[in-house]
């Protein structure tokens, strides 16, 4: 059972208070009518399923009802960071190695926060 830091409540809360909403940073095309069927199908149906760092959207459903994003490692299930809607992740699959230590620190802070 996850322990999730809600960036709006400023606290770690139990997973039961949250709903997962799938992959993060899926943007609705600005002009849907200009999308080909294939592009629209990609937007609707196609999602990543990486082994490793993944960005997910969650909502603090039983709480502040705010949507936010989580960077999570899909093997260890470790949550590397959470960030508000509209923000970009600081940890990505690409920069993961460099920032692993920084993540560990922020995670620990999170535990006490």
């Amino acid at each position: 059972m996850f322990y999730i830091y809600c960036p709006y409540c400023g606290e770690h809360r139990e997973e039961e208070e949250f709903h997962p909403k799938g992959q993060a940073h899926i943007e609705r095309p600005k002009n849907p009518e200009e999308c080909s069927d294939e592009e629209w199908g990609d937007y609707l149906f196609f999602r990543d399923n990486p082994r490793g760092v993944h960005h997910e959207m969650w909502v603090h459903a039983v709480g502040c009802r705010k949507f936010f994003n989580i960077t999570r490692h899909t093997v260890s299930y470790e949550i590397l960071e959470t960030y508000k809607m509209g923000e970009q992740p600081s940890i990505t699959a690409a920069n993961q190695t460099q920032s692993r230590e920084a993540a560990a620190v922020s995670h620990q802070e999170g535990v006490r926060a």
Partner: protein, 210 residues
């Protein structure tokens, strides 16, 4: 005045009302007696308003109309001097205001007058929820059986309130004073919550004040 409809849902006191727990008292009873370590008391018919908007926009109006500063910090709960009126942070743009029953409509009207055309929302939810007080030496244990949130005094000081999971329902849990806890439960879940509390509290003995 923003272009919203207001509606005073209350009327003269001669018309009978039923609190969300009216059915529960009839159906499950309200245990009384000595030797209990838990006290439950419903504060029925209070005025409940949901306030939504930017903190800066709302703060001034709330201070002016209600005489309380809008709590800007997450999980904060503040009361007026009498302790009868409170505002609780629910989310960065959402607060719960609880006032004595009947005050909610005048309060909404005054806030709307003060706020003018600003973007905000006020929703009366007085009929949709009720407030349950829990006290007694076993209160903390009862809460640990019931909510998933950490109620240890080091994490849950007086003046805090959270929305969290209550058994398989949800609640707003608040701590207005050292010995008293408040649960704000939705009307339709109130009977489930009441039965749960009686059951979970049975090993300590429960006294229900009506």
């Amino acid at each position: 005045m923003s272009n919203a409809a207001t509606f005073d849902t209350r009327t003269d006191t001669a018309i009978p009302v039923e609190s969300p727990l009216a059915y529960s008292y009839r159906h499950s009873g309200a245990p009384r007696g000595s030797g209990y370590r838990l006290k439950l008391r419903e504060r029925a018919m209070l005025g409940h308003l949901i306030l939504r908007g930017g903190a800066i926009v709302l703060d001034e109006a709330v201070r002016e109309v209600l005489g309380i500063s809008l709590p800007g910090k997450p999980q904060a709960l503040v009361h007026d001097a009498s302790g009868e009126r409170s505002i609780q942070w629910l989310s960065p743009d959402e607060w719960l205001v609880i006032v004595p029953g009947g005050e909610e409509f005048p309060l909404e009207t005054k806030l709307r007058e003060y706020l003018g055309d600003a973007h905000y929302a006020i929703s009366d939810v007085s009929g949709g929820q009720t407030l349950l007080e829990v006290s007694g030496e076993a209160a903390l244990e009862l809460l640990m059986k019931t909510v998933i949130y950490d109620v240890h005094p080091s994490n849950f000081p007086v003046g805090k309130g959270v929305t969290t999971v209550f058994a398989k329902a949800t609640t707003i849990l608040r701590r207005p004073s050292e010995e008293r806890w408040e649960l704000v439960v939705r009307r339709s879940f109130a009977d489930y919550c009441y039965r749960w509390l009686l059951d979970a509290g049975s090993e300590y003995g429960v006294n229900v004040e009506q």
